[in-house]
Amino acid sequence: MITEVLTIAAEEGATEHNPIIPLWQEIVVGTIAFVILCAVLMKFVFPMMEKTFAARVDAIEGGIKRAETAQAEANQLLEQYKAQLAEARTEAARIRDEARADAEGIRQDILAKAREESDRIIGAGQEQLTTQRESIVRELRSEIGTLAVDLAGRIVGEALADEARSRGTVDRFINELGATGSAGGRR
């Protein structure tokens, strides 16, 4: 049966083929086809891919570099800001201290001035009081003198002609009065 089938097959296919012997027609066709394929792919496609790869690597590396620069810049800015902030803080503290000292100074100043003013006012008041008292005392003396003379004149019923004499008497009287009065006042 097998031989029969084989003979049928052999009758159909005109020649016997040896699979290990290449057909020269196929070698020619295959070579042409493969050369065309190689030419197109190796000339137009893969070099482009290499270029794209290189561009991609470039883009990524450039991006990384840019990011690094930006990062460094940001860090620098941050440091700067931090330094500025610290500076501002010490400055503020200094200003606060200064202001506090100033305020204390001003307070002391004002206090001193107020004390001085009050002292001055008190002094002036006392002085005025003394002056007024003196003038009042002087006025009272002359008044009392006159009143006394008048009273004496009325009592005596005669006008004292000799004023100078009478004044001397009055003055003496008042002085005696004053001496006893002041001695008594002081006591």
């Binding site: 097959a9 027609q25 792919l41 190796m42 790869f53």
Partner: protein, 264 residues
Amino acid sequence: MIGQSLVLASEVPFPPSVEDFYLPSIVPWNAHDSYWFTKITALLWVSVAAIIIFFLVSYRKPQLVPTKKQWLAESIYGFVRNNIAVDMLGKRGVNFAPYLTTLFVFILVMNFWAIVPLAQISPNSHIAFPAILAVISYVMFIYIGMKHHGGLKYFKHALIPPAPWFILPLLIPIEFFSTFLVRPFSLAVRLFANMFAGHMLLLVFTLGGFAMLNANIWFAPFSLVSWVMTIALTFLEFLVICLQAYVFTVLTASYVQGALADEH
């Protein structure tokens, strides 16, 4: 009964033979001695056209941020470039990446016809095509070796290993045999035989199913098993397709690596 089964068996030729790989030509129609335009060469041209169109279309306007198609094309090239060429040849591998990728894609697509419905035969099951590729690899690694080491010094470098003098008469023929005689044949035959055997296996199980059914209708379950096996073997064939494309490319790169090596 026997006569009837014989008639049916002749309708579905079993067992498959070498002649099943040599189909009648397309132009001129049904000729058995013309090989210029057959199913095999047609598939070859379709493969070449498909690869070229795919790469040209997907890489017409390359962008830094790739589109899906561009990404696919780039990953194919990137796979061979980084995982084969650069891995084995170092920085010089970039120069060989275009050829190695072309080789890889060509073999892959050519092999792939083995499991494409209706095509279902790989042009690589005809030894002519693996032979062309093997000869190119062979010439390439010898040329690169001669260029790298300076003319005939390459052969001295390749043939004379650093060994005691008395062992050299034994080593030199072995080196010559393995490096300059066996390599192209092993490359070509490995690929060819894998695709040939794969096609043969599929034929055996597919035709075997029909043959059993024709022989006796009660064999139908066995036929069914046979066809299920065909499907399973198609998956195995897919593995072989990818593996052989990879192996051929890696071996070519490895030969170039040997030619460029400065020490043994």
